[in-house]
């Protein structure tokens, strides 16, 4: 095998951060080389250097042994490097053909040669077993197919090195399997792939070699045969990590949250929650599994009082809280870890101390007769920063300066330090590093063991499977199945998430 690409001694500094520190990386012809690391480990910076979006402070890039200079994505394209970004770079209102030809248009007599290009796309699609129709609009395609369009976009530009940035984040397990099949197909035809991810299972399943990055440096390069999940996780984090949450069997009590025939519409007025019924008991974790965008966001917003319902009822601890605004719902005993921590969980420009009293500022000891008691606020902050291990220079640091994991800890501290009956956690570990994930998972299980009812919404199947006691699968705004977590396999869940479950097969909601 020949080395098609080599990065030597790449160093990239940003103000205050050494994002890449003397990084070496190489890619062999026809291999899948996984680049593994936590958020902020420097994977993205390295790939942006390779793709011409950043200029390295030091280091060289070699293509087939020749040194090359990268000044813009155009150079990368010229050197046969294609990138499939995590957020797709596709224009929804364009057809597949238009998206693929954009920037590299074929022109005949001054007119876009759509038919010719769409023929070429059909040919490419057949060659690599991609099965895409060049004449459909991208907005009408499922995410998995859109990703293939991105892949064809790079192949159309004659790329033989493909960078896939967190490609499975938006896919169902079945779509991910399809993607892996396609990756194999591509490498068998001579394409070399750099596969960026933080999911250990996938790396072990698909990669030929694995390079792990930590804090801007290469922590090591290995192969799936020589390593396992625990060793990879330890390389990523730099210490031993408990991957599987240890928990004792649930001891469910009374029904704490009851949702009956709930209907909710999104901002455009489309009904995205279409008649959902379920309940969560004290001392159990109910996981809502589903591919993003199947109504989870609206469901949680309706339960927490953030948006209006169209029909149905919600009971919390026996009180009807349907259509109530957030404050009465919170006062009834709900804690909420929102999906988007920066938009809905925190006031980014406030210090940690103030963010810690957002739910309770008007109550004694903080608010007395409409005046804030700063001493009480400070004491509360000091206590929680210590108890929840929030790594912050001080309690007066503006919360936007903290890392994602510590921001999430601020929310967890605020929500869980109150006396609550129900915890709604929506994507509680999205974008967090392994260490923070471990911590948050521990907190959620502790809440359950103290008799709190937990509703966990997550697109990460692993998270749902390891935390939840029961799993409700949501598909197109409806619960298609409710199953016991220890009686279902990943594959079965994946199929249900893709909508293949028959309602009659589903275990009725307890």
């Amino acid at each position: 095998m020949a080395t098609v690409l080599e990065l030597k001694g790449i160093t990239k500094k940003f103000p205050g951060v050494l994002a890449n520190d003397n990084v070496n990386f190489d890619l062999q012809s026809g291999e899948i080389h996984a680049l593994l690391g936590e958020n902020g480990a420097g994977k993205t910076t390295l790939m942006n250097v390779l793709y011409g979006l950043y200029r390295p402070d030091q280091g060289e890039i070699f293509r087939n042994g020749q040194p090359i200079a990268m000044h813009s994505p155009k150079d990368a394209i010229t050197h046969g490097i294609g990138m499939v970004h995590q957020h797709f770079m596709l224009v929804p209102v364009f057809t597949v053909t238009e998206n693929i030809m954009l920037g590299a248009e074929t022109i005949k007599n001054g007119i876009l040669a759509r038919r010719e290009v769409s023929g070429q796309i059909r040919e490419l699609s057949r060659q690599y077993g991609l099965d895409i129709d060049p004449d459909t609009f991208v907005r009408d395609l499922p995410v998995g197919i859109q990703q293939r369009v991105e892949i064809v976009k790079t192949l159309y530009r004659k790329a033989d090195i493909l960078i896939l940035d967190e490609p499975t984040a938006v896919l169902t397990p079945q779509e991910a399997d399809d993607l892996f099949r396609i990756m194999r197909e591509l490498t068998s035809k001579g394409v070399s792939i750099i596969f960026i991810t933080h999911k250990l299972k996938e790396v072990l399943a698909i990669a030929d070699r694995i390079t792990v990055m930590r804090a801007g440096r290469v922590a090591g390069t290995t192969t799936p045969a020589e390593t396992d999940e625990h060793r990879l996780a330890a390389m990523m984090v730099g210490r031993e990590v408990i991957l599987n949450v240890e928990k004792k069997p649930a001891e469910p009590g009374e029904e704490m949250l009851q949702v009956r025939q709930l209907h909710v519409a999104d901002q455009r007025g489309l009904e995205t929650v279409r008649g959902i019924t379920f309940s969560v008991r004290e001392g159990e974790i109910l996981g809502i599994a589903g591919v993003q965008g199947n109504g989870q966001t609206e469901l949680v917003e309706a339960l927490t009082g953030l948006c209006r319902t169209r029909g149905g009822q919600v009971f919390l601890n026996g009180h009807d809280v349907t259509g109530k605004s957030p404050r009465p719902v919170i006062e009834t005993g709900m804690a909420h870890i929102p999906e988007d921590r920066q938009r809905h969980g925190l006031v980014l420009s406030y210090p940690v101390a103030d963010n810690l009293i957002l739910c309770t500022y008007y109550l004694p000891p903080f608010g007395v007769n409409g005046v804030l008691h700063n001493r009480a606020v400070d004491e509360n902050a000091g206590k929680l920063v210590q108890a929840y291990d929030i790594r912050t220079p001080s309690a007066y640091t503006v919360v936007s300066k903290l890392s994602g994991g510590n921001q999430q800890k601020v929310i967890v501290a605020r929500e869980l330090s109150r006396s609550v009956h129900l915890l709604i956690a929506n994507q509680p570990t999205r974008g967090l590093d392994v260490g923070s994930i471990e911590y948050i998972h521990r907190q959620i299980v502790d809440m359950r063991d103290r008799g709190v009812a937990v509703l966990l919404v997550s697109a990460e199947l692993d998270e749902i499977m390891s935390l939840a006691d029961r799993i409700a699968v949501i598909y197109r705004g409806q619960i298609v199945a409710v199953v016991d977590a220890d009686k279902v396999s990943r594959a079965e869940l994946g199929l249900m998430m893709a909508g293949s479950a028959q309602k009659s097969e589903a275990v009725p909601a307890a």
């Binding site: 994505p73 770079m89 224009v91 929804p92 209102v93 364009f94 954009l102 920037g103 876009l112």
Partner: protein, 356 residues
């Protein structure tokens, strides 16, 4: 643009023409009235069409432009000034003077486009504020210079408004204009004809050329365009300047084609109605033109009804009040923008500055 929309447009035009036919029945034959209404409609729709095309270029590239009104007003003034300057000071004959005036108007529009691009693309100023700045600036400059140049005794024109070189002559389109009865509809002045040609040209450019594909990509998903090597900033600049030139041509309509004079604020909200036409036409040239024709027919109603004022039946006496009829275009604008004929969709990145 869907057929429901075109149907609605046709319906309104038929109703408005019908009103004039009924009122003027005792004076003229329906044939004459219909031809006259359609001729006026096409002519008065010109600045609306051109304004809307300006908006389409800007917004398809992702820059909101509410400064069309100002761009047209400034162009109307400088076009008129250019024509008079060539004619009176440089002693050029009538036609070259008018053509130089036309050029001046287009350049003025282009310069204002450049200003708008500079504010909104380079400095990322809120584009509504940027457009407002353009409008206020155009009002100020045209009003001030109008006073200084033509009404101050020390000015080059000696304190009086010189005789303008007239308006652009009608172009006789062979074959079409020779048709019996309806031929008169095609007997239009050059800017009106240019506007109709531009509708076709802009449609072709936007949807069939590389330029159009790239323009639309920059207005829908600039980052995607950037990753395939398209220079977002340059595309936006170019399109806003082209849009400005087209608005400039629209401004020339007021002082070089419609009437041979300038009055402060003479665009009178047409730039905003053009914006409404662009929205109702779903950011497409033909849609915008059809919408412009609806507004044009409302103005044509006002113009044509005046001749038949004496014949308005007693129970329709309110139509005798010219301001009542004058309200029709504005009421139509509001009606149409409420979205009663369904929603339209703006380019996704419309109004969003591009951050690398």
């Amino acid at each position: 643009m869907d057929w429901k929309r075109y149907g609605f447009i046709a319906l309104i035009i038929i109703v408005l023409v019908g009103v004039v036919v009924l009122v003027g029945a005792s004076q003229d034959s329906p044939k004459v009235i219909i031809v006259s209404m359609l001729t006026t409609t096409i002519a008065v729709a010109t600045p609306l069409t051109l304004g809307a095309l300006c908006g389409i270029f800007c917004e398809r590239a992702g820059v909101v432009n509410i400064g069309i009104e100002g761009m047209m007003l400034a162009a109307a003034f400088f076009g008129w000034f250019g024509a008079i300057y060539c004619n009176t000071i440089l002693k050029m004959p009538k036609m070259p003077s008018l053509l130089f005036g036309l050029l001046a108007a287009i350049l003025t529009g282009g310069l204002f486009g450049l200003l708008h691009a500079w504010l909104s693309v380079t400095f990322k100023v809120d584009q509504i504020i940027g457009g407002t700045v353009i409008n206020l600036l155009a009002m100020g400059i045209s009003g001030f210079l109008n006073r200084q140049l033509f009404f101050e005794s020390g000015s080059i024109f000696g304190g009086q408004v010189p005789h303008a070189p007239g308006t652009l002559p009608r172009i006789h389109i062979p074959v079409l204009a020779d048709l019996p009865v309806v031929g008169k509809i095609f007997d239009q002045q050059p800017i009106t004809i240019a506007a109709i040609l531009l509708v076709v040209i802009v449609h072709f450019v936007l949807f069939y050329t590389r330029w159009g594909l790239r323009t639309r990509s920059v207005g829908e998903h600039p980052r995607a365009a950037d990753t395939v090597g398209i220079n977002v900033i340059r595309m936006r600049y170019a399109n806003v300047i082209i849009g400005g030139c087209i608005a400039g041509l629209g401004g020339a309509y007021f002082t070089l084609e419609s009437v041979p004079s300038f009055e402060p604020l003479m665009t009178n909200g047409r730039g905003f109605i053009a914006l409404a036409a662009m929205i109702f036409g779903n950011w497409s040239p033909f849609g915008a033109w059809a919408a412009a024709l609806v507004f044009g027919s409302a103005s044509a109603l006002q113009i044509n009804l005046q001749q038949y004022r004496a014949y308005i039946p007693a129970q329709w006496a309110f139509l005798q009040q010219s301001y009542v009829v004058g309200l029709v275009p504005y009421i139509l604008t509001m009606l149409i923008l409420t979205g009663i004929i369904g929603k339209t969709t703006a380019p996704a990145a419309d109004g969003v500055p591009y951050e690398k």
